[in-house]
Each structure stands twice: as C-alpha cells, then as structure tokens.
Symmetry: C2
C-alpha cells in the first residue's frame, strides 16, 4: 500500500549508504518446546503494544460504567455543619469550668448573630446549626434561666449532644481510586461528596470487520456459494458487552485491495479493529496478507485450544491495533475473550487480566498438558456453591448461546475430576 | 391542577343527578395484623398497575440487552447444504443395490448439471455440495473407473460420507423465547440462523426528579441552608444500571405549583417517574401533595426495613406511573431495588420478580418477624462458596458503594446464624 509508518520517509536519498532498518514489532515472547507461545505470554505481548485512551472530564451520570483515571476524595463534610442533637443551648464546653476545673455557677444568655462570646450560651433547637465557636449543646434541663443569666447545674464536654460536621464523611477523605469503574452506587457517593465531574477514559471504539468471499449479512437471500455472516455479529455484540462502542461492517470479498480499502477507511473511528471471517482458510489468508500490506503483523501459534492460530497487527499510519480472529465461530469467540477483551479493557484503562473464578466440577474434564483448554461451560449456583458443567452441542453458536462461562484448564492441567475445583472466566460480567 | 384523568369530563352537567364516582386506583392489598402491607403484596400491586411497553422491530446489534417479545426459530439450515466429507462420487445410495439387495456391478459416470440420473454417480471433492438426488458419497477407493463406467466394490447407505444440510441447526428449530434478554452470544446464534431483525421492547424511559427546598446539584456552591442532592444521582444511576434510559432533573423547591409544573413537563418523555428528595420530612410531604394534585395516589406503610413509607401514583392524563422514594439515601436505594427495579423490568417486558440467590452467612444477622429486613451486604466467592457479610458504615452512601448485594431477611425470619444459608439480591446484575 506504500504507506508510511513510524514516520519513515517514503523516498530515502539514494546516495546515503546507511542500511534502512524496516520497522517491526518488538521481539515476541519465546516459544515453548513444542514451538508454541503460551496464552498468557501472548496476552501480555499484545497488552504491551497498546496504551490506554486519553481521559475526558465527564458529568457524573455520563461517567457511569467507565474507568476512573484520577483518585477522588470528598470535597465536603457530611454532615456539612455541626448541629444540635437536642433542644438546648450551644456552648463552648471549656467555658463551663473554671481554672480549677470546677463548674461555673452561671453563663450569659446570648441572642446575637455570629461567634458565641466567651462565657455565653445561645438557644438552639434540635437539628439547628451551632453558632461559630460552640463545641457542645447543654440540654435545657442542665440550666435554669433567670432573665439573661443561666444557672448551670451540669456541664458537658466538647462534642456532647451535637452531630459534628464531617462525622460521616470529611472533606479530603478518599472515595475512589484510579482504575476503578464508576458504578451506580459510586455515583451517589460522589454526588454526596460534592463531585459533579470526573476524569474517565472513554469507551474504546471497536470496528468489527467481517470478511470473506460470498459472505452475506443475515436477512439477505443466500445463494448456493454464499455464507451467512454470523461471526462478525457474534463478535460485535461481545465487544459491546465488553464495554466498547462498536461499529460493524461486512465485506463479501477476499480481494486484497478491496479489503485494505475497507479496513483503512475505518481507521479514523477505530481504537481497535477486530477481524472475523466466513470461516474458510482462504478468507483468513486473504485478510492476513491484507494486514501485512498495511501494517506490522505478528502471527503466532498459541498453546491453546481452541484458537491456536492468532494474528495481530499495528496498522495504518497511526498504528491502530488489529486482531484477527480464527474463522470457526467458537475459536473466534474464545480468542476474543482471551485477547480482544483484555485489549478493550486496557484501552479503557481497566484491569486487563481476566479474573479466574473457582467452582466445583460437576463432571470430569480432560485437557492436554502444555495447552490451555477453554471449554464452553455453564455455572449454576446450588445452595451457595458454584457448580461447573460443560456445554456441548453440535451447533457451535447454540453451544455458545447456552454457555455462561469459559472453563479454563491451564497448561499444567491434564484432568479435573468431578467434585474437584475448577477455574472459569465469566462471560457476562467480570 | 384541574387535569382530566381517565377521560373524565371537566364540567359535568349540573342538572344530572347521578353521583359522580371519583376515579381511583384499584383496591390495594389487605394489611397484616400490625396494619402494614407486605413487601411482596406491594410489589405485586404496583406491577398490576403498569403494562409492558410496545415492541419495536430492531436490527440485531441494536437489540442487544433488550427483551424479546416473539419466539424465534431458525430461518435456515446449518450447514445450508449437504456436502461431501471425502473426495469421491455422489450417489443415490439405493441405486447401489438391486431388488434383492445385492450390490450392483457397475454405475454410469455422470458429468452434467442438475439432478443425478438413476444408476449414475458424479465426482465430488471434499466439501463440495452434493448434486440434487444424491444421498451419499462413495469414497474413490470403493470404485474403479473404466471410461464412463464405474465398477463398484463396496456400497454406502444414505447419509454416509456426507455432512447433511441442517445437521447442526435446521430451519424451524426454536432458538429463543418471548421474555428472554438478547445477549451477545444470542446475537451470533440469531445471525447464523438468518435472522437480521427482532421484535424487542425498548428500554423504558425513566425520569428521575430530585426535589426539596434548598437542594442543589453537586459542584455548585452550597449555602448554610442548602443540601447537595446525592439521592437523585444515586437513583438515576441505579435506574440506568437496571436497563432504563434515564433523564434527570433537580428542583430546588417544595412549592406545589412549581413541582407540579416540573413533573408534568417531564411526562412526555417518561414511561416511569421516580421522585427523590433532599431527605427532610417537608420535602417528602410537598411531593406527595403535589402527586395527589396531578394523579391518583397510593400511600402505604410497608412491612420492610428500611423503606416503610411508600408512595405510588398514576399521574397526568396518560396515567404515567410514578414512585416516590423515601428521603434517606439507604431507604431510597433499597426501595428502588424493591419497587423501582421490578417496574422497570415489567415495562421492559422482562421477568419483574427479583431473583433470590443463596449464600452462607459469614456472621449472624437479626431481623424482626413480620418485617422484611434488607441489609447492605457484600458477597465474596471463596473456593466456590458465596460468603455473605454485612456492610455497615456510618456514611450511608459509602455503605451502599461498598455493598454488592442486599441481604433479604424475610417476614418469617428473626435470625440467621453464622454458617447458615441466607438469601440475597444481587445489585449489579441479575
């Protein structure tokens, strides 16, 4: 395509004898004895090639479900003011005793505005704000009024019979940290702490491109040599569920120039491109060759089942990350969860590592040592215990629709017996 | 406000002697011995007063996370065509044997288009579509070609060495039912089944109105007699998390005419109005009186803690449902989860009953018999077991932010001991 990446000059002056070093991706991780890259190495390699998106200041409600990129602390005291817990008289508690710590006989009744004078008390009703200087409330029964004079029967100490400002939440108290997702209940907390705007990273924009000769969108008539595109819909919806803003196109062709044009046209609105195909080998190869023509590409055999063949690139002038998913729907979906999900999370500023949940295997599972096996599973909560079963259906998309987890049998695991604990990724939240 | 509900005429002719029956809400459920309405009775009463929204036809990806209101079945066969599993010869298997079920000696090689003639075979490569009429494939090794003649060494039966059309999914096979939420993986399944549009109910539009004398939005300067509005933000975010499209206004007043104007102005875009206040008794009373002026109102004392005082109305000319939440943030939030959430779900066409999950109590909990007690809790998965603990913080909004469930101690429960099973509602999904 003759595009310039990394600011490389299009025409290097011929007379210069320097060897031009072709731009390339960083050194990929080493392979294991079987010539495969471990799944975790591949995730970490890809994560090392993308950066979180720049943050925006957003109104509290707009920020819902996005990732914070500042630490937040309360701007206000809750309650905002110190108030009386009973009807009585606001007082500076220290004035109630003399130098020898003996109770004073009487205090002056003060009826003005502003700071309470030394040796004075001021009438307050329950819930009323204390005047400046007051540190406690004398219940009405602790004194007897005689005109402007109040005879004192009992004393109080600082803070007695008052609800203190900041007693529930004080200005400066930490509320949320960088990297946390702004949830519904956080929004109440932040509003109550006087915060109306927060810095969050926007939802990553993901363009899902389905391609392949004879690929047609559902709802259109399908000729004998055509295939309905399910994969790009599956992955577009999965990307949206993972928190992305999704754009979706289908290109019914394997022509390299046509594919390159469609993909580069999308780069202006893409923080990540995800490619799916109609499932045939030639569809996959056409897109890999197209990627190689417009970017720097890493192709790897990963020690996982399904999803062994993985292709990643940084494409176009702005090095937009692009992952190419395998053609089989289950392989594509599993690969999305293993690599696409972490990339979306990293772009969004969230923790990109998948959380391993633990449950109890309902039946036995077998795997190959040296491979991460990802089985479609269903977890049900029985009396507080998460029971994990495998879903196995002849129709790949029905199998996925029924599953709610991916059972993760790691490289060290050859077998899990019924009743043993087993790990899984949740598919619908994390 | 002088508005007409239920089409009631504004000026009834004076000469008519009929007693005009004032419109009213249906008979509310009976009270228990303590004069309280049970929480479930109140939910069911409110649910009986709203109807699901009208459905729309939507593109598959737009329909994500919305509730289906049609049963869906596959429009296509998957695979679409019967194809050869091996290189060989397509054949009508019945032609390979004679009337006595003995193997025939030879078949004719057919090289034309269309239906395969009786007694003929046609060359196919692996993955190729079988010609019409063919029911099986003869592997190449089962015959020897002699010009146009094929000598037959072994026979096959119908379906042998073929991948049959519809073997994974057949046209007409049920995929999803009314009331199911269209999830990410369903979208893949539906696309693959040839479905591009589905009928779903739209996300309910919820207007959250925060009101109260001296109520100000966070981020504005707060005078001594003003309160920052946290409740309406908390509930707006919770309604959004529950699947609603949310509009949000704050009215810093308790003036009835002003409140009525603000609320009625919102009815054009509301499927449900939810009212919150600054928390003072007079704020609550002002809104209840306003509601009574513009609609039919049910005020109930419900056997639950927190959230005893509940007010519901059908307001304006179109009888838009409106719930008024208690003023305390925890009471408001719990009441939203108990009554607002089910109403949003009913409007959306989803199952409106909250799902009770079961876990193991980490500590003991106490309740009052005859009351449903809803405690803020946190559930953690430990070795596959959901352990339930109570969250208790002096600051109500911090307590909510930390919780991820509401622990439900029902009317029959006085005590749950540590280690016993306990029920809860999940707050972040269901």
């Amino acid at each position: 395509m003759g595009m310039a990446w990394f600011g490389r000059k299009k025409e290097a002056p011929l007379e210069v004898e320097e060897v031009e070093v072709a731009p390339s991706l960083p050194e990929p991780p080493p392979l294991n004895e079987a010539g495969l890259r471990s799944m975790q190495d591949h995730v970490d390699y890809l994560l090392g090639l993308v950066e979180p998106l720049n943050p925006f200041g957003m109104g509290l409600l707009e920020a819902w479900d996005q990732v914070l990129c500042e630490d937040l602390e309360s701007l206000v005291d809750v309650p905002a003011h110190t108030t009386a817990l009973v009807d009585g008289y606001a007082v500076r508690a220290a004035d109630l005793v003399d130098e020898d710590n003996q109770r004073v006989e009487s205090m002056q009744l003060f009826d003005g505005e502003g700071r309470i004078p030394v040796g004075a008390i001021k009438h307050v009703t329950v819930g009323e704000k204390l005047p400046p200087g007051a540190t406690a409330v004398l219940p009405s029964t602790f004194i007897a009024l005689e005109g402007e004079l109040a005879r004192v029967f009992e004393t109080v100490t600082d803070g007695e019979y008052v609800r203190s400002a900041g007693e529930h939440l004080s200005a400066g108290e930490p509320l949320m940290r960088v990297g946390e997702v702004v949830g519904a209940r956080h929004i109440g907390l932040l509003a109550g702490a006087g915060i109306d705007k927060v810095f969050v990273r926007p939802k990553p924009r993901v363009v899902v491109v389905g391609s392949g000769e004879g690929l047609v969108e559902p709802g259109r008539p399908v000729d004998a040599d055509q295939t309905i595109d399910a994969n790009s819909f599956l992955i577009a919806a999965a990307a949206r569920a993972a928190g992305a803003r999704v754009f979706h196109i289908v290109v019914g062709s394997n022509n390299h120039a046509e594919l390159a044009q469609h993909v580069t046209d999308q780069l202006i609105r893409a923080d990540l491109v995800i490619s799916t195909t109609g499932g045939r080998r030639e569809d996959y190869e056409a897109m890999v060759q197209t990627m190689s023509g417009i970017g720097l590409v890493d192709s790897a055999q990963v020690a996982m089942t399904p999803g062994r063949t993985q292709t990643f690139g940084l494409i176009g002038e702005d090095n937009i990350p692009m992952i190419m998913l395998p053609g089989n729907p289950v392989s594509a979906y599993v690969s999305f969860q293993a690599f696409g999900w972490p990339l979306i999370r990293k772009l969004a500023g969230a923790d990109p590592q998948r959380k391993l949940h633990r449950g109890i295997a309902r039946t036995g599972f077998r795997s190959l040592e040296g491979q991460t096996h990802l089985l479609r599973g269903i977890v049900t909560n029985e009396s507080g215990i998460n029971r994990v079963a495998q879903v196995s259906r002849q129709h790949a998309l029905s199998e996925l629709a029924e599953a709610n987890v991916l059972i993760v049998l790691d490289e060290q695991t050859a077998q899990v017996r019924a009743g043993e604990s087993v790990y899984y990724w949740k598919l619908d939240e994390d």
